[in-house]
Symmetry: C2
Subunit: 361 residues, 2 copies
Amino acid sequence: MSRPDIRVVIMAGGSGTRFWPLSRQKKPKQFLPIVGSKTMLQETVDRLKPLLPLSRIHTVANAQQTKIIRRLVPRLPAANCLAEPQAKNTAPSLILATASIFNQNPQAVVIVLPADHLIGDVPVFLKQLEAGAEAACASDSLITFGIRPSFPATGYGYIHFQKKKSDSFGGFAFHSVLEFKEKPALEQARKFLAAGCYWWNSGMFIWRAETFAAKLKQHAPRFWPFWERTAAALRNRNRKALEAVFAQAPSLSIDFALMEKAEGVVVCPADFRWSDVGAWSSLLEVWPRDGRGNAVRGEVLALDSEKCLVYNPDKLTALIGVRDLIVVETEDALLVCRRDQDQKVKDILDKLKKNGRTRLI
Amino acid sequence: MSRPDIRVVIMAGGSGTRFWPLSRQKKPKQFLPIVGSKTMLQETVDRLKPLLPLSRIHTVANAQQTKIIRRLVPRLPAANCLAEPQAKNTAPSLILATASIFNQNPQAVVIVLPADHLIGDVPVFLKQLEAGAEAACASDSLITFGIRPSFPATGYGYIHFQKKKSDSFGGFAFHSVLEFKEKPALEQARKFLAAGCYWWNSGMFIWRAETFAAKLKQHAPRFWPFWERTAAALRNRNRKALEAVFAQAPSLSIDFALMEKAEGVVVCPADFRWSDVGAWSSLLEVWPRDGRGNAVRGEVLALDSEKCLVYNPDKLTALIGVRDLIVVETEDALLVCRRDQDQKVKDILDKLKKNGRTRLI
């Protein structure tokens, strides 16, 4: 078998709000140096270097975000940076990206990666992507990666898999998926954890372009006309037609539109360390910590303070007698938040929106 | 009896550190608009307007602070703004100020007021000052004001007074002082509170200039040569001589140098509401509070947050799920401090000093 034509599609269209006040509508998480010194998008691109050249990396995002992508990764071919005419959730995004690659090579293997995830063990990550590509070539499967749950999370979807039987590619096990489960309530999440046959849905996928098309036609017929018209508009380089197609596309996630309806979906458990870096508190697991568990960016003097996350690169921060706090300062806003309540940052954004404080959101 | 020649001496020489990062060595509390929209010094001057003209108000502070005073209260006569050659605690300051007034009129009544106290009920305050001035004219007493303790404070000195006997001036009782007590330990403070014959030492005094001189000569002979040389240097407008005298002056508080040694000291309990606004947390009792007990300067969005003090006039502050916090932001520093630990701000300053971060202290 000849070496497969592997492509990566980086989904960079998210409009993260959970890192406010650092992240803004126009500057979501993937465009911020939250984990390291480079932006998460740049880190996502960089870690793929041993696997494939930049010419095989595609991005999908809105037009404005695509401009940022071009600036951050200037050597990425312009044609690879797909600008969605409008934001329509992940199903239309991935149909656009996969159809674009399908037009070049229907047998191409498409690896879908979010632009804003942290990968702890990159060599293993790349090995697993290669194994997934191998699996995609060897079968008509849609492949996903599952994350072994470390706690009964209510913020992730779960993948119910067949525990007893699996195929092996590159030394990694690929299990049949029985069912996709949406974000559960806590009680349900606890049951998933206890059952031992549920993994978190990482949002990373692998498929051959033609397999994706076939599954779409069979299991998501509602999207089939959208696929056909999108592929045609791309072939004809007809931006107006693409806009018209997108205007009518249903706004659905790929999980909901296709994955949970399709047959022949398999899941491989991630052996690389993974985090979706979902909110400020997650950085306490990512940034280096001092002896009292404080993780900081900027100059911090901490007295009798522990388990605090501080982002304030431009001025001195003094902490006295505080714990479990998130402190984030930017040019125009300051956030002081209890560590376990960082999801309420959204409520602050809602308030700002309601008050017309557009500049701050 | 002719109306007495009343003077006020505002002690504006403190180098407050407790409002860091807003207060700095060169910008102590009295020069900050911490309580209202004017600086505490300006408020101290303003509230005296019904009692006496600006020409009767004197200040004592170091040379640099005196420049600030002149800028903040430009209509104060330059000759009234006494610049200490060097900082030597309150005894040398008050000898300088009282000697200066003595040179003009030995019978003048000197009212000593700190520049950085909050007075809640100004009409009563002024009535009590007048009553104190009357008492000072009617006797050879050193007069102090005592604050009825509301809790067993360990941060104030206490005045032990004779409970059963008092003189009355202007309708206010003046009790003989039995003893000055330095800042007590908590157990001792509790006993003082229970005893009912101890008030906090407010640091406000009234005396005739000649009475002060006589008491000094008799009860603080160590300071007598300092008084004589200071008075002479002032008469001769000899700055060099004043500097030489100050260089040799012992660095003692007026309480320690004179008040606790002198006979004929009386104390009048303050009927005006009083606060020395000793640290950030004290402003929670001073600034208006929202329904959850938060007191703020600046735009604050508070979610599930209570009893927080926020000073951040220049940008938005978002609080989520926090309580009992002090949050203070300035151009070059951010403080996040548990409400009951604001006295540790000093430790931050010590660290900064040790690290040579002069610009920040």
